[in-house]
């Protein structure tokens, strides 16, 4: 997934934390390459609402999508693959309990845990 954004040091720093690497840079734009979903808020970038909106409008995502929800910019890759996992009742109950504690859905928990485990194994983060 390629993310083209106006040059901003804080944004680049945040993206590098989730294993995004700069591909190209010029005076006004930066192209970053990465594969994970990322959420950036206007507070993270220390921008006012209007400035943040302008920044979000200028961001271009190839191979993925961007969504702005108020003061939050969500960049995520297109999810074209489906992985089917078979679970026993006990495993399902454990996942359900864990998801309830974290106040999220089971598939969200599964996806998040899976990706963080993979990234940790590969020392991406």
């Amino acid at each position: 997934m390629k993310v083209t954004a106006p040059k901003n040091e804080t944004f680049e720093k945040l993206m590098s934390r989730v294993a995004y690497k700069p591909l190209k840079e010029d005076d006004s734009l930066t192209v970053l390459d990465g594969m994970f979903s990322v959420e950036v808020s206007s507070e993270d970038l220390k921008m006012h609402a209007r400035e943040f909106k302008r920044f979000c409008d200028a961001v271009i995502v190839e191979g993925g999508k961007k969504v702005r929800k108020g003061t939050l910019l969500i960049i995520e890759p297109l999810r074209t693959r489906q992985l089917k996992i078979r679970l026993s009742d006990e495993e399902y109950e454990k996942l359900k309990r864990c998801a309830k504690m974290r106040m999220c859905s089971i598939s969200f928990l599964f996806r998040g845990s899976l990706l963080s485990a993979i990234a940790k194994r590969r020392e991406l983060w």
């Binding site: 999810r79 693959r81 992985l83 996992i85 026993s88 006990e90 399902y92 996806r111 899976l114």
Partner: protein, 181 residues
Amino acid sequence: MPYLVKAPKDERVNLVFSHAFKKVGEGEKYFVYEGRIDVEFPQAMFGLSGDEFRKLCRSIRVEGGFKKRTEDGVRIAPLRKKVLTVRLSEDEYRLLVEDAREVGLEPSRWARNLVMSLVEQYLALELKKKAMQEIREVCGGCKYWTGEGCGNPTIPKLYLREVYSGHRKECQYKVERVGVM
């Protein structure tokens, strides 16, 4: 839900199975074990010859689960009736497949193993937190309270849940001298 494994009475088999399963019954010629997790037993663990191992695999009966011969052993696992669908991007899927290939498992099985181990860790941590909170409430003001457990030298080293119940049962310090409880 736990599954039941019926295996012939054999000391070698019993020795191996008792590490992974809980013995819940026995008949004249067999033991009944209760299992919860997915386990794979290599043939070498039993110390049986090829023929003996084949016979053993055939004689094992699993209720609420299944057995499957693997390359060098037998796998016993619970039935998995629930299906969870997760959407992944191409890159994420590629990483998963590469990792799974590295360890010689199917991507879905590898994904399940990875996530379930994390979930177990998380649930254990939550239990620990809850137990610690309970202990702190009961033993917090005690002279022997170390901040992590009971430091009373007359009590065997007990932690967490054991400390909670053990402290109340065995450590009378607080009751006698402090009178908080």
